[in-house]
């Protein structure tokens, strides 16, 4: 089975995540889309790890460890991010990111 299958699947998932970020205004959904993109990348890393194992490389486990670290970062990010969203909701009773346009000024 060619590794391209996994590559294209990851690309598709990643682009769907990007699309979601672009078309949705709900901060939680956008967050979920980011998770989706991270997972797409993780999948790719695992696929490449498999590819390297088949090619006889001994350091293929690094790719899987990288996925591990991505998960670590994602978990930390979700913790803080959701806390921020809760804060935001508490202040403005909305999770619409378009309210957060203070960058303009």
């Amino acid at each position: 089975m060619p590794v391209q299958y996994y590559i294209f699947l990851s690309i598709a998932l990643f682009c769907i995540g990007v699309m979601g970020v672009l078309i949705r205004r709900n901060a939680i959904i956008i967050f979920m889309c980011i998770e989706l993109m991270l997972n797409a990348v993780n999948l790719l890393l695992v696929a490449f790890s498999k590819m390297w194992v088949d090619a006889g490389r001994t350091d293929a486990a690094s790719a899987q460890l990288f996925v591990f670290f991505v998960m670590v970062v994602a978990a930390a990010e979700v913790t803080v991010g959701l806390a921020v969203i809760v804060m935001m909701y508490r202040n403005s009773h909305s999770v619409d990111i378009n309210i957060l346009n203070r960058l303009k000024n």
Binding site: Y5, M19, V46, A61, F68
Partner: protein, 165 residues
């Protein structure tokens, strides 16, 4: 068509459909549920790719912890489709078009790349916890320790942000 390919295609279809469900569904709760299904399919992919430990971690951390956290927040905030903010239409289409364009462009770039194919029949023990633990505590012990600091700061951050002041 081998069994692996059949399983891959089924899993892929599930992944893409649920991914689309995440971004399309109006109710955030549905989105979260779709995302859980998506993560499950990805977990299955991991198993197929000889990443057993990662599959378990994905199952527990993502599907278990993170997605429950999402669901919890959504329910806490009592979000539903009525409260869902709506984007202007043209921006929606522009987002969809640009995402599609990104897909096309990346695919176009990688289409002609030649890569090795995966041998799905031989199994390797690379993804086993013993193997990964060896590498993690020998080669990546410093990033591992740093990630603990990251977690600590994330924890403190969450507490500080969540505190009612």
């Amino acid at each position: 068509m081998s069994l692996h390919e059949i399983i891959f295609i089924i899993l892929s279809v599930v992944s893409i459909v649920t991914a689309l469900g995440v971004i399309i569904s109006k109710n955030p709760v549905n989105s979260v549920l779709s995302l859980i299904v998506l993560f499950f399919s990805i977990t299955c992919h991991y198993v197929m790719l000889n990443a057993q430990f990662l599959a378990i971690v994905n199952f527990i951390v993502y599907m278990g912890a993170i997605m429950v956290l999402f669901l919890f927040v959504i329910m806490l905030l009592n979000l539903n489709s009525e409260l869902e903010p709506q984007k202007r239409n043209w921006l929606k289409y522009a987002g969809a078009v640009s995402g599609g364009a990104l897909l096309l462009v990346i695919t176009g770039i990688l289409r002609s790349a030649s890569m090795a194919s995966l041998d799905m029949n031989t199994a390797s023990d690379i993804g086993l916890i013993k193997n990964l633990g060896n590498v993690l505590f020998k080669q990546y012990v410093v990033p591992f320790e740093i990630s603990s600091i990251l977690f600590l700061s994330a924890m403190i951050g969450a507490v500080v942000l969540g505190k009612k002041d």
